[in-house]
Structure formats: structure tokens, C-alpha cells
């Protein structure tokens, strides 16, 4: 039977190459549009779930500044530092809303260029790297001559997140959020679960750098539960297994030192992140009042350039956009599929009319129903397989951009082919095969094979 299938396929392709290639291209296009539809649908669904989980019934606001370096320099310049600190204190303590200013940031531990932060002080730096990064970037780090781990400067409210829990040890005390002397800075650190086999509570991690101040000592006071996470200010899940969590510090001394210079540590602490990365969270009923209050605080502290924008509203609009995109892609997919179905119907009828005598000869020679079905569908199955492969190839090319050096390329996480897409495509193909099979079967039964067999070639 395989020989018969092979001969039939060879003859079909020889006589219908152009139609076959066109069919492959048409169905590839259909596959790509289905993939886009599925991608948008899954994205929209993800947005919806994340929005529900992240925002619940609260309103979230984010802070923005006009995109001007002059404005940025004025707002966060040394001359305005006092206003920033005052505004920060007011925002943090206001009862109308929550001020969340947790900042994921890298924590540097040594630097070969700096004699004070030598690698000799970090005999376990390879281990630390392997624990600090999912893929283990030790060799990469050695080349770059510094040890940089994932850090999170936590505000007081982080521990209230439903998925952030202490597995062992304790959370920070209020006192631990304050630094009284820039020359003696020590922080407690709560480590992500990924570090649990490297450190113990009570261990000391030396020579952490913060900004460009002198080395800071970290005291391990606890570990987070495995797979703890929270939604960061981009509303993306931040998995904490590999993070070192330290308090987002505040200073109790004057940031202008006795010699008249600015304290570098204070400059680091009250940097733009505590304002720009912050989220303001209010109950729906007090959202308008909270917004008004935030503008009032900024006004009082001469921070006129700051603006609030409604993150929840933006997310909703994004969700609506994703749904609209899904719908428009779905329309294109359905249309493309309809064109394909029409093409297949015409093709199936054409094939049966053209080859009815041949099918009659096969029937006369004793072909079974399954064998006949295989004969009728084999070119369609090949066409599906090629379209599937072509779709994968095109999607991979689309997702990959080669830079000037062909050896280095970057892959984007756009329109990947998900398992759901594969399932939908396989079901679509199966349905089309059934459609073609049933159409062909009915047509063959309606055909007068006796007359077809008597036809003169």
C-alpha cells in the first residue's frame, strides 16, 4: 500500500505542483493568523487574570514626569533633595492611600577595579552567583569583574502581599528601616528560598555596596517561602527565590554633611526610584480624594512637574485593546480558514472528477475504505504537515533578529507558538480532514463507478 501511496503522491505533485504550493502557502497563512489569534487571546486572558489578582477592587496610580532631562535634573537635583524627602515622608504616612515604593535593583558585592572590594573577600562568589541567578552566570561575571546579585529594597508594606511569606526567621523591625550614621551602615537581609542551602540565619554577608558608599554588612535574619512573589510596579510577577531583600532605608541625620558636602548614601537612598517606581494604591471610593491629596503634597513641596496616571484604567484599556486585537485576528483567521475550506472543497471535487476512473479502478481492484481514504487525503496531510513546519519556521525567523554579527542574535518573546495553538491547529486540521474525507466519501458513493470505469481515456 505504501508503494501505491508513494506513486499516487508523486503523480499528484507532478501534475498539480502549483496548486499544491498555493495550498501550502494559504494554509501556512491560516496557521499564522490562528497563532496570532491564540496569542492575543491568551495574552488578553493573562491580563484579565493578572488585573483581577493584582488590582482587585483597588485603584492603582503611577507617577510620571515630563520626558525632559532638565525637569529631571531640577526635581532630583541636590538643591531639591529636601523637598523630595519631605514629600516622600508625607506620601509614606498618608492614611488615604498606600505608598508602595519597593525597588528591585542589583546589589553589587565586589569590584576588581576597586581595591576595597576585592574578590579575595568573596571566596564563595561562584556559589553566590549560582544561587543568585537561575541560569548560573559565574563565568560571565568573572569576565565582568564584579559580583552582582538580585536585590530588592523593600518598603514596610511588602510583607502584607498575600504571596510574600517568611519561611524562617523574621520580618524587618521599624528601627531597621533607619540609618543613623553613614559611617556605620548595617542591614538585615531576608534571603529568597534559593539561598537556603548557602546561608543560615545569623550569617554575615560582607562588603555589599550601595551607591558608592563604604562597604555595608548584611545580617541574614530570615528566608522567604519557596516561590514567593508579588506584582511589581509593571504589574508583572516578581519571583523572589533568587532575591536578597533588604529594607528600603531612610536616614535620620542631615544629608548635608558638616563639611558642606552631600552625603552619597543619602543621595542613593532618596533617588528617583522612591518616587518614580512607586505605586499609590487607594480604595475605589477614596481614589479621587487620594489623587487630590497626592497632588496637594507635591504642590506643597514644589514638585509641580509630577503627574499621576491611573494604572488600573490603563490596564483596562490595554485589556480592551488586547481583546479587540483578538477579535480582529479571529476574523482574519476565520476568513482565511473559509478560503482554505473553499479551496479544499474545489480541490476535492476537482480531484474526484479528474480521478474518478482511477478511484473506480482501485475499487474494482479491491481497495478498502481506509485505503481509499488514505489515498484521497495523503496530499492534504502532506500539505498540512508542510504548512505546520513552515509556520514554525516563519514564526521562529520573525521572533529572531540577527544583529550585525550573524553569530549573535536575539530572540523576542513575541507571538511564540503555545501548546494551546498547536492543539487548536491540530483540531482544525483534523476537522478539515474529516470535512474533506466525508465530502470525498459521499461524492464517490454518488459517482456511477460503472460508467466511470467504461470511460475511454
Amino acid at each position: 500500500m505504501l508503494k501505491i501511496l508513494w506513486l499516487e503522491m508523486k503523480n499528484y505533485l507532478k501534475g498539480n505542483a502549483a496548486v499544491f504550493i498555493l495550498s501550502v502557502l494559504a494554509f501556512t497563512f491560516a496557521c499564522i493568523t490562528i497563532n496570532l489569534t491564540m496569542f492575543n487571546y491568551l495574552q488578553a486572558d493573562k491580563f484579565r487574570r493578572e488585573n483581577e489578582e493584582s488590582y482587585g477592587n483597588k485603584s492603582f496610580y503611577k507617577v510620571s514626569l515630563p520626558p525632559s532631562s532638565a525637569v529631571f535634573m531640577r526635581v532630583f537635583g541636590n538643591d531639591n533633595r529636601e523637598n523630595i524627602i519631605k514629600a516622600f515622608e508625607q506620601l509614606k504616612n498618608d492614611p488615604l492611600f498606600e505608598y508602595r515604593y519597593r525597588q528591585p535593583n542589583s546589589i553589587e558585592f565586589f569590584d576588581f577595579d576597586n581595591p576595597n572590594f576585592g574578590v579575595a573577600d568573596f571566596p564563595r562568589y561562584r556559589d553566590e552567583f549560582l544561587h543568585g541567578y537561575e541560569q548560573g552566570r559565574t563565568e560571565f561575571a568573572k569576565q565582568d569583574d564584579y559580583l552582582s546579585l538580585k536585590g530588592l529594597y523593600a518598603d514596610r508594606l511588602l510583607i502584607n502581599e498575600p504571596n510574600v511569606n517568611i519561611a524562617s526567621g523574621r520580618w524587618f523591625t521599624e528601627e531597621e528601616f533607619y540609618v543613623h550614621d553613614p559611617n556605620d551602615i548595617q542591614f538585615p537581609v531576608i534571603l529568597g528560598a534559593g539561598y537556603s542551602d548557602l546561608y543560615e540565619i545569623g550569617d554575615i554577608i560582607e562588603y555589599m555596596q550601595m551607591g558608592s558608599v563604604n562597604p555595608i554588612t548584611l545580617h541574614v535574619i530570615g528566608f522567604l517561602e519557596q516561590d514567593g512573589w508579588f506584582y511589581d510596579n509593571n504589574n508583572e510577577r516578581l519571583l523572589l527565590n533568587r532575591y536578597m531583600v533588604v529594607p528600603s532605608p531612610e536616614i535620620t541625620y542631615n544629608f548635608i554633611l558638616p563639611d558642606g558636602s552631600y552625603c552619597e548614601f543619602a543621595r542613593f537612598v532618596y533617588n528617583s526610584s522612591i518616587m518614580m517606581n512607586a505605586r499609590i494604591v487607594a480604595d475605589e471610593q477614596s481614589a479621587a480624594a487620594a489623587m487630590q491629596r497626592v497632588y496637594q503634597i507635591w504642590g506643597e513641596n514644589k514638585l509641580y512637574e509630577f503627574e499621576l496616571f491611573d494604572e488600573t484604567d490603563g490596564a483596562q484599556r490595554w485589556l480592551v485593546m488586547a481583546r479587540e486585537q483578538t477579535l480582529s485576528n479571529l476574523i482574519i483567521s476565520v476568513f482565511t480558514l473559509l478560503v482554505c475550506v473553499l479551496m479544499f472543497s474545489i480541490q476535492a471535487s476537482y480531484k474526484l472528477n479528474k480521478y474518478k476512473k482511477k478511484y473506480g479502478i482501485y475499487m474494482m481492484s479491491g481497495i478498502t475504505a481506509k485505503q481509499l481514504l488514505a489515498l484521497m487525503l495523503q496530499d492534504v496531510v502532506l500539505m498540512f504537515a508542510l504548512s505546520f513546519g513552515l509556520m514554525f519556521a516563519l514564526t521562529e525567523i520573525y521572533r529572531t533578529i540577527w544583529f550585525s554579527n550573524p553569530a549573535t542574535f536575539h530572540r523576542f518573546d513575541i507571538t511564540p507558538i503555545s501548546m494551546e495553538t498547536v492543539v487548536v491547529l491540530l483540531i482544525t486540521q483534523l476537522l478539515l480532514l474529516c470535512f474533506i474525507g466525508i465530502t470525498g466519501h459521499r461524492k464517490i458513493h454518488k459517482t456511477d463507478m460503472s460508467a466511470a470505469l467504461r470511460e475511454h481515456e
Binding site: K358, I361, S365, S450, L453
Partner: protein
């Protein structure tokens, strides 16, 4: 011994079943017979062959092959029955045009999933017997009418069926080739194959052992008073 028996077969066509192809038709065929089925165009001759081969079903009556009722055998069972017991030969040869003569003859064996070596041996042997061994690599269009019909005969008998149905087998051939084909039939018949040959040609009828006449789907008595059933 009786090979097949058709009793009071009725077959109608058309959307409202208004065309009667066979009407109370009877036929008995014994093993080793060589029977000519004669009648005018549209008399129902080919319908008889289609019913015997199972390509067409019957609406009324009984069809027994070796005493087994075939009227209700359908689908793949009928296909296997046809493949194992019946060989078909048609007026215009019904060869697959884009396959070689070898592939055409090998078709029933391949559908029966016979081993490659056996297929090769049987095809070559049979082609040699029928004098077309040099044509095996050719395509049907490269053959003469006589050669094409011999290829069709080879395909019909490659599975060693008990019954060979031939629908106007000499209709597309000249006199010389017609005679040669009929000689092959007679030789095969002598070897034990049973033949039912549908024909218009009295010469072909004369070379058969028995003739059955059919008119308007019914058995028809000839002038000699022979009952053709």
C-alpha cells in the same frame, strides 16, 4: 458445482427509482463455465456484472456466491470478497494511465499487502505467459490495444480469482486482437477460471460455452427456445 446464483434480482436507478435496470432477473453459473451475457445497450448487462462484483447493491432478490448470501455483505467485507474472488476486465482496459504496466498489474497484490518479492515474481511470470513481459516498464499509452487488454487481463487474474467478469472485452479491439484475447480467455477457462463475458459481438458469444440473453432487465428467450437461466 454451482458458483453463483442470482434469483429474481430487481435493481432500479434514479432519484425516484424510476429507471428499472433489472427486473426479476435470474442467473445460475457453474464453476468452470464460460458464459456470454448478451443484449442491447441499456438492457442491464453491466448492472448484472456490477451486482455480482458488489460494486452495486441490489434492492430485491437473492445473490448467492458458493451458497453464501451476498445481498447483505457490504463495505470492506465486500471489498475483500471482490479482491479475492473476482477479476474485472473492461472494454477500455481501465488501466491507470500514470502508472507503469508493472504497477498496474501489481495493484491487487499491493492492496492485499503481499510481500514485494512475491509481487515481483508473480507479475513477471504472468506477464511472460501473456506475452507482455517487455512492456512492464512502459505506460498504458505506449501499448497497442491488444497489449493493453492483455495487461488488464493480467491485473484481473493476478490474484487468482475464481470468477472473471469481462465487460465488452473486445469492444475496443480489431478482429485479430479480439480473437487473441478470446483465445487467452479459453485457455484460462480450460485452467479452471469461470468467465462471464458481456458482449454485443456474436463471434465472442459463439466462442463461449453458453449464452444468456437479457432484454429490458429480464431474462429473454432466444429464437431457439433456449431458456437462458
Amino acid at each position: 458445482m454451482e458458483l453463483l446464483k442470482l434469483e429474481r434480482i430487481t435493481k432500479k436507478y434514479g432519484q425516484s427509482q424510476n429507471i428499472t435496470a433489472l427486473n426479476q432477473f435470474n442467473l445460475n453459473v457453474r464453476e468452470g463455465e464460460m458464459l456470454a451475457l448478451m443484449g442491447k445497450s441499456g438492457s442491464g448487462k453491466s448492472t448484472v456484472l456490477n451486482i455480482i462484483s458488489g460494486i452495486d447493491g441490489l434492492q430485491k432478490g437473492s445473490y448467492k456466491f458458493k451458497n453464501q448470501e451476498m445481498a447483505k455483505v457490504k463495505g470492506d467485507k465486500m471489498t475483500v470478497f471482490r479482491r479475492d474472488n473476482i477479476g474485472f476486465i473492461l472494454q477500455h482496459f481501465a488501466l491507470i494511465q500514470d502508472a507503469t504496466i508493472y504497477d498496474n498489474i501489481a495493484l491487487p497484490l499491493r492492496l492485499s499487502r503481499k510481500p514485494k518479492a512475491e509481487i515481483k515474481e508473480r507479475v513477471r511470470k504472468l506477464a511472460a505467459e501473456l506475452g507482455i513481459e517487455k512492456q512492464l516498464k512502459k505506460y498504458p499509452k505506449e501499448l497497442s490495444g491488444g497489449e493493453a487488454q492483455r495487461a488488464a487481463i493480467a491485473r484481473a487474474i493476478i490474484n487468482q480469482p475464481q470468477l472473471i467478469l469481462a465487460d465488452e472485452p473486445t469492444g475496443a479491439l480489431d478482429e485479430e486482437n479480439s480473437r487473441k484475447i478470446m483465445e487467452i480467455f479459453q485457455k484460462l477457462n480450460a485452467q479452471g477460471n469461470t468467465f462471464i463475458i458481456v458482449t454485443h459481438d456474436p463471434n465472442v458469444g459463439a466462442m463461449c460455452k453458453r449464452t444468456v440473453h437479457i432484454k429490458d432487465g429480464k431474462n429473454y428467450e432466444t429464437g431457439g427456445g433456449e431458456i437462458n437461466a
